[in-house]
């Protein structure tokens, strides 16, 4: 099986979907001639032509609203935001139109919005955000946050196949840093199935996206002291795999919820509440949370480092949790 980087896996998956289904097309800013700001669609316009790889004006509303309209007419649009942060410009179309069209009119809106998200390289307040929790609060949207090349490809295929609007968060800090084996043939990774990224019995970290790797680094460090922590990668937030989370909590009885997004109103709160409701009796310690502080994402390296949860922060929290 070939080894691909996370970003290659996304390109590979998208290319494969576009080859097998004529209805799939890509649109966004600089996705054609330039191949996208991160080069996910490099060479796509040569292969698929300018009407399936569409360079749009700087117009997030028209991109997402337009994707919705094309989907209603039977297409399978994949819309790229240059950075996830810019999805705020298309909030209305996603939240007001795409998310509610099926509920009202029984007309599905099968669109995928690709969202390069996350920090770690001094992108500052507008090129680093992880806005998944804001959208998790909107019934009608599905939310996908792959952490590995394998899942990046398989979840993209599922997202394109899915009859609903799907927000596909691709973490920029994983793009070229994370490599893994990716099957050449097409496959799907189903939504709502968490993956045990690292096994362990002493506690569990529930997380997603780039934090899967941060948690794993912390767990590997802790293993040197003989403590084995499971890292459970949710892979998708809407829907999320309650059963697997509750099963892990029951088995390990100690849980840390970790995310890169800010703390208040973050999706971690939803997970913690569900554990409190469903598995209170199984807990040997209060549910812990590690998340970014409630500030915009800062630019300067020491500030950004303090903002984004680091492996040391997770390690420290896990030590406390295990010792509880």
């Amino acid at each position: 099986m070939p080894e691909l980087t996370y970003i290659q896996a996304i390109s590979d998956g998208l290319r494969q979907e576009m080859r097998r289904d004529q209805r799939v097309f890509l649109m966004g800013e600089d996705v054609g001639v330039y191949g996208g700001a991160f080069k996910v669609s490099l060479g796509f316009q040569e292969e698929f032509g300018p009407w399936r790889v569409i360079d749009t004006p700087l117009s997030e509303t028209a991109i997402v609203g337009g994707a919705t309209g094309a989907a209603l007419m039977g297409m399978r649009p994949v819309a790229e935001m240059q950075f996830a942060d810019f999805i705020s410009c298309a909030w209305d179309h996603l939240v007001t139109v795409a998310a509610k069209q099926f509920f009202r009119g029984r007309t599905p809106v099968p669109i995928v919005v690709r969202l390069p998200s996350g920090g770690g390289f001094s992108g500052g307040p507008f090129h680093s955000q992880n806005p998944e929790s804001s959208f998790a609060h909107i019934p009608g949207l599905k939310i996908v946050c792959p952490a590995t090349p394998h899942d990046a490809k398989g979840l993209l295929a599922s997202a394109i196949e899915d009859p609903n609007p799907v927000l596909y968060f691709e973490h920029k800090h994983l793009y070229r840093r994370i490599k893994g084996e990716v099957p050449e043939e097409r496959y799907t990774v189903p939504f709502g199935q968490a993956n045990v990224h690292r096994e362990g019995e002493d506690a569990v970290v529930v997380t997603w996206g780039a934090m899967v790797h941060t948690a794993t680094d912390a767990a590997d460090e802790l293993a040197k002291e003989g403590t084995e922590v499971e890292v459970l990668d949710l892979r998708t937030l809407i829907p999320w795999d309650r059963e697997k989370v509750l099963e892990s909590v029951r088995r390990t009885s100690k849980v840390l919820v970790l995310h890169e997004d800010t703390r208040t109103g973050g999706f971690g709160g939803e997970i913690a509440a569900t554990i409190a409701e469903e598995a209170f009796e199984d807990l040997d310690a209060p549910v812990m949370r590690v998340a970014a502080p409630d500030t915009p994402v800062p630019f300067s390296p020491p500030l950004e480092k303090a903002f984004i949860p680091q492996a040391e922060d997770v390690l420290q929290a896990l030590e406390e949790l295990v010792a509880y």
């Binding site: 800013e29 600089d30 001639v33 330039y34 700001a37 360079d55 749009t56 004006p57 700087l58 117009s59 997030e60 509303t61 028209a62 240059q82 950075f83 942060d85 810019f86 705020s88 410009c89 390289f121 001094s122 992108g123 500052g124 307040p125 507008f126 090129h127 502080p293 409630d294 500030t295 915009p296 800062p298 630019f299 300067s300 390296p301 020491p302 500030l303 480092k305 303090a306 903002f307």
Partner: protein, 347 residues
Amino acid sequence: MAVREAEPVGSLQEVKEAGLDREDLLGMYRAMLITRGIEERGHILYKQGKIPGSFYTGRGNEAAAVGVGSAMGPNDVGTPLHRDMGVHITRGVDPWRIFAQYMGREGGPTRGRDGNVHMAMPELGLHPMVSHLPAMLPVATGMALAFKIRNEKRVALGWFGEGAAARGDAHEAMNMAGVRQLPIVFVCDNNQWAYSTPTYLSFPVEHIADRAAAYGFDGVVVDGTDVLAVYREAKRAIEKAREGGGPTLLECLTLRMEGHAVHDDAFYVPKEMFEQWAAQDPIERFRSWLRDHAELTDEEDDEIASSVKRTLNSALEQADESPLPDPAGLEAGVYAAPEDLDTPHHK
């Protein structure tokens, strides 16, 4: 109402009529040199790994930025963008603050909270842009609205790129400003590229300024490499707005002389286009105008160049002495307290 294509500026007499004396002209020249100097040094610092994140320059836009910035009155306000370093310089920002901003230091206007040109000094009448383009246009419109409500003879300037003109924010801002005849000038930095996107994929008419007619105000296209023509047109538009004549859309036509940001080699821009516009470099152009019309001598020019160099050297030193921000202060800066309202703007 067709757009007006502005004439170039000819003689010193004409310039004097526009209210500029020789000192002003040399000040503008110096501001353009400092602007370019800061960005050139920033570029080097970036390549040396001393500037985190990404790095943008406004090479080719120095005349447009300095020309408009110089035409602003002392109490006017604006929201310049990532190609408009010259506006900050013209309004008087100390260059060391910009280097400190680039390097994420405590001494930068955003104190390391944000990077590159995402900064401005409100005490100089400038408010920092956000990345989301052109989100500052409705904000500038609101500034103009405040002036109108309070009957103040002040003008707001909102900058936007020709690419970002495609977003709804531009339409809403201009429409509201037109409806209420607000004292605002919309300045379009038309550098012909929006990242890799050429103008014909951004808008289907010849000029962004063509749109002004639809909002009930004037549109003007000016050669953005001609600092004096930009100044004259900006001055007209600003004074018109000040006197109750409503908005103007001023389109400054230039070429973005580098990639979108440092990482981008601009392979998609035709070579001839670069060559053509390099021949009308705004600084070279102004220098030869000053030689021909304002008796700029080689000695004087050298003197200006070395004083600019000294300014930048010491700015860089001072910025380098500024510490990195302390993470302990991060969370304290999110919400304003009542005493934070104690600024010139809120009185």
